[in-house]
């Protein structure tokens, strides 16, 4: 069974701090997506990483796909209260029964 483990599960920080969220698996994924879900809403796609070692930046957010395509990280610089939400990673298994494998999420609270 393919699993995606996210850490930490919960994170509460002050505005202006930096943080990193991790998404790890023992399985290889053809690509990996990061979503953010705000309270009362559905998840919204932030980025898709496809190539091993790939780094993508979205303003203050930096996403990296591991060289072996088994893990990924999300780094937020100078966090703001608007970054508060549930961050979810989802891996494309690209197998015969192709599906997105979802992590359990990291719940981030950025306090003003």
């Amino acid at each position: 069974t393919q699993l995606l483990e996210q850490s930490p599960q919960f994170l509460s920080i002050q505005e202006g701090e930096n943080l990193t969220v991790y998404c790890n698996s023992s399985s290889v994924f053809s690509s990996l997506q990061w979503y953010r879900q705000e309270p009362g809403e559905g998840p919204v796609l932030l980025v898709t990483v496809v190539t091993g070692g790939e780094v993508k930046k979205l303003k203050r957010l930096t996403f990296q796909f591991g060289d072996a395509r088994k893990d990924s990280s999300l780094h937020i610089t100078a966090a703001q209260p608007g970054d508060t939400g549930l961050y979810l990673c989802a891996g494309d298994n690209a197998g015969n029964n192709r599906k997105l494998i979802w992590g359990l999420g990291t719940s981030l609270a950025v306090n003003p």
Partner: protein
Amino acid sequence: EAGVAQSPRYKIIEKRQSVAFWCNPISGHATLYWYQQILGQGPKLLIQFQNNGVVDDSQLPKDRFSAERLKGVDSTLKIQPAKLEDSAVYLCASSLGGWGGVETQYFGPGTRLLVL
């Protein structure tokens, strides 16, 4: 472009009652997904449709859950009878439905179900 629509937004029922949720995907999206999300956790795929055919329903509790997408557009998810552990957010998502490459799933706001 209109997003994924879901209704109702909230529902409170007693255990053993029945409930139905409705989803209208983004126009032109062939693939439709229903997810169950327990508070603070990631989504769990219940069923995936490609047009009006079922692609994956391996995690759907078929003794009480059913879903249909008769005309390949909107979809209904039903729970009968509901149990306390069914309390969750039910998310509907849609994607273009291409067979190659990585797809973006677009989610609706979800229906929050509370079973008492």
